[in-house]
């Protein structure tokens, strides 16, 4: 069916995002790639819900969207506080 092209495109995009996550070069590029991977997962779950005829997958998609968002913010917060700490230590010396 009608779901195969979009599933294929989503998987291909996930592979591209993974490639970017591996290539980097900066931490932020990796976070961007991971965030994108998460968004694609949400769409993938939503499409799967209809392909398999199991609407409960939509709940998974919704929960995943929430976790992905919070996760990215948490990781960024962690990097930022580490950055500030490092800068402070450099100045302290």
């Amino acid at each position: 069916m009608i779901f195969y092209p979009v599933l294929f495109a989503l998987i291909a995009t996930m592979a591209l995002a993974l490639a970017r996550a591996l290539l980097g070069p900066s931490l932020y590029d990796r976070v961007l790639a991971v965030n994108m991977f998460g968004t694609k997962t949400v769409l993938f779950l939503a499409v799967t819900a209809f392909m398999l005829g199991r609407p409960d997958f939509l709940d998974l998609a919704l929960a995943y969207a929430a976790i992905n968002f919070i996760g990215v913010l948490a990781v960024l917060q962690f990097f930022q506080s580490r950055e500030i700490r490092q800068r402070y230590e450099r100045q302290g010396r």
């Binding site: 294929f8 989503l10 995009t13 932020y28 790639a33 209809f50 919704l62």
Partner: protein, 115 residues
């Protein structure tokens, strides 16, 4: 089976898949973080919009339709917020755009350290 609704739904889904894929190519091809974020925002706007619209046609008037709408609204609110958080964190940590004509005027306090 191959009704008009299914055809439109297929077209929307395929178009969404294409947009998402182009965004993925952009994230791999573009030269620096900030330009890549523009490509990523294709996959955050056009992709979900088209894919979820295609699925909405499959759902018909049901609770699934409401869930699709909630997912779309949630993505539309969180995607720019996450993008802002990412861009701002990169900026504050001193990550400068590789290719840019800087017209932001006087240099400001952020990004004095270099990445």
């Amino acid at each position: 089976m191959a009704s008009v609704i299914d055809m439109i739904s297929f077209a929307l889904l395929a178009a969404g898949g294409f947009c998402v894929f182009v965004g993925g190519v952009g994230v791999l091809r573009l030269p620096d973080l900030y330009t890549r974020m523009h490509a990523a925002s294709i996959t955050d706007t056009a992709g979900p919009l088209l894919v979820l619209a295609g699925l909405a046609l499959q759902a018909g008037w049901s609770l699934a339709l409401f869930k699709l709408a909630v997912i779309l609204v949630f993505l539309a609110v969180t995607a720019p917020t996450a993008a802002y958080a990412l861009g701002n964190a990169a900026l504050v940590s001193g990550y400068r755009p590789a290719v840019v004509s800087d017209e932001s005027g006087a240099t400001d306090s952020e990004g004095e350290g270099h990445a």
